[in-house]
Symmetry: C2
């Protein structure tokens, strides 16, 4: 018998009416299958819990996770009760009841193991099992949370553990788009996408899926579907690249305003200086994304430009200034007014000219490129934030991504 995992986020279960709507979708899907339904807490509940934690200024990891994970009991209880009233054999389960075993990195725990036998047992007795997302239990018997967006990860991990046919992630958009439809109304829903593309899209700004859940799906070669709990149309399938018959050269254009730029000028151009700088940042848990190094016109010193998350820009600057002697640079400059634009597609690997088209398009629109980074399936450029919209729209046009 077919087995599908379905995940619904907080807004999809934000009221009794909405939970009834989820029950409709579950009932319709059930038909010829067994289902595992993963739910977040009702929207607003986890935020309310975070407010309590902030109010008492608690840094207590065990207590915070216990409080943060209290809301899912309500959503899974309500959905399961509604399903039972419709004569569907259903059971609600919290993380510890399965159990979903995690490590002890409270607030961002990683799932270590899910007991397949226990789930199989439940699937023998019930047609639908309703699982609390976002939560697990560690070896000490304490409740852990997987971090914001963690319910996606729960769904994929459960689907992988039971070797489900598919994992459907229901959300408030009807799939993954070629770019942000709020910025470019011509943006088009993508029907099929490779895991790698989805990963690049998530990490470059498209907030549809939790990055960790995509990695996990890729590792387990588990087909994901991102779809809407409102429109009920088929969504975007995220699949192994081998399942993509026709690889689009470019699948989408994404942008991110989450990073800031640092430039160090007048660095003594000697071996090991990059290792010093980025070693220092890494040791202080500051993630560096794009790095560009070039020799300055004097031929002796170099400039290094790199980006860090906005939240880390002050820490990064302070850290480097504190180590001015060690690094030996002349001046430091920061710029928070930047945007990263990325063009993503599996087809790039075999197709030349993608980068050229990107740079030409930006040049045609008089947009200056501040930095470039590339991977096999992605080209990212850093530009002035004020050009974000025009850059995205013109690239979207240049690669013919829009609806005709």
């Amino acid at each position: 018998m077919k087995l599908v995992v379905m995940k619904f986020g907080g807004t999809s279960v934000g009221s009794i009416d909405k939970i009834n709507n989820v029950a409709n979708i579950v009932e319709k899907e059930l038909n010829d299958k067994k289902l595992i339904v993963v739910l977040s807490a009702m929207s607003g509940v986890t935020n309310k819990m975070q407010e309590y934690i902030d109010e008492i200024e608690s840094n207590e990891i065990i207590e915070n996770d216990l409080i943060l994970t209290s809301g899912e009991a309500v959503s899974v209880g309500l959905l399961s009760a509604i399903l039972k009233k419709r004569n569907i054999k259903s059971i609600p389960l919290l993380g510890w009841q399965i159990p979903i075993i995690t490590d002890s990195n409270y607030q961002k725990a990683k799932i270590l193991n899910i007991d397949k036998n226990r789930i199989d047992q439940f699937l023998k007795n019930y047609d639908v099992i309703v699982v609390a997302g976002f939560q697990g239990v560690n070896i000490d018997g304490n409740i852990t949370s997987l971090g914001r967006g963690g319910s996606d990860t729960t769904a994929v991990a459960v689907a992988a553990a039971v070797d489900a046919d598919r994992c459907d992630i229901y959300t408030d958009v009807d799939g993954v788009y070629t770019t942000d439809p709020n910025l470019e109304p011509k943006a088009k829903k993508i029907n099929k996408l490779a895991f790698e593309e989805m990963l690049e899209m998530s990490s470059t700004g498209a907030k549809v899926l939790h990055t960790r859940s995509v990695e996990l799906a890729m590792k387990n070669n588990l087909t994901l579907q991102v779809l809407s709990s409102i429109t009920k149309q088929s969504g975007t399938f995220v699949v192994d690249e081998n399942k993509l018959i026709e690889k689009e050269i470019v699948s989408g254009v994404s942008y991110s305003n989450n990073e800031s730029k640092l430039t160090l000028s007048g660095i003594a151009d000697k071996p090991g200086i990059s290792a010093t700088i980025f070693g220092l940042l890494a040791n202080n848990n500051i993630n560096v994304d794009m790095i560009v190094q070039n020799t300055s016109q004097d031929g002796i010193t170099a400039n290094i430009t790199f980006t860090v998350p906005n939240s880390e820009i002050h820490n990064a600057k302070k850290l480097i200034e504190e180590n001015k002697k060690l690094i030996d640079f002349k001046s430091i400059e920061t710029d928070t007014n930047i945007s990263k634009i990325s063009v993503i597609g599996m087809g790039m690997m075999s197709q030349s000219g993608v980068a050229k088209k990107m740079f030409t398009t930006l040049a045609d629109n008089s947009i200056n490129i501040l930095a470039i980074s590339t991977s096999e399936i992605k080209i990212s450029v850093l530009i002035d934030k004020k050009f974000t919209k025009i850059a995205v729209k013109s690239l979207h046009d240049a690669y013919n991504l829009g609806s005709k």
Copy 2:
């Protein structure tokens, strides 16, 4: 080292301010002891959950208990975090984490076992353990609730399991009173009370303690203290009767408006008829409290008067009418406009004249007695509801219970 169990209800943990106040009390008490603190959910939370359940008209016992018990995670998490911030070694624990094993009577589960070794282990590592009241886990691994007021029972059961020195029940009144102070301002706080007296008071209207928790304390000879989380004065101790040096003849006067009266007239006065009537009611789970039978003036037929909870009066009447042939009576009459007044005291056993004083006092106030029932330490009478206040006040005076 001394070990005390403290229980705080929903109103005592109804806000961060109030939880901070609980932390103050815990910190002060800790001093030379280890503590187990049992908490209810923040006030209003469990009611909100019940509203959800009512809204979806759920009769699903597993789901309802899962939903109803979701709130305690928040209160225990918050208190434990606050204690830790004050450098007190504390750990929060839900019912399943101890575990508190219950039977499977969802919504009103009975505690079967509490793992003393596990609690001892926690007490070795922590000075305070903060336990979620009202909840347990059954043999199937499902969460169960103990029924409204169940946190009292959790506290007493945990205290009994670990052989605690005392169990303090914090509430919004500063102890058990000789009668309802809202009705009789002269009512006085009782310093010491026997378990049996507390039981009679609970079951005859004084809503200070959950009846089941008193039974459990009595069975385990565990001293209870009922006290206020606001005034911080010593409260009412509920103890084994052997610890009462001076037994008050009458300890208190209580009243209850929760029952209604049925009278069957013209019953054929033959053996076994009472067994038929009350067997019928018992088989239909209708609790009967007071029963009075007397032969009518014709010397052939009898009248039977008895009381049932208000919520059951219609069911009881219907049931008896459906079995009119079997019971063989002439007419049935119901009266919902009654009040039960009880005079309670361990001293009654050895002291005559208590009943006489009660009847005389009521007669002096022209209050007609509709029925009487007695136990070794209690006399209850049924009267017209409109005389409740005057009956309570005059009896309170007659037995010299008021503050001088």
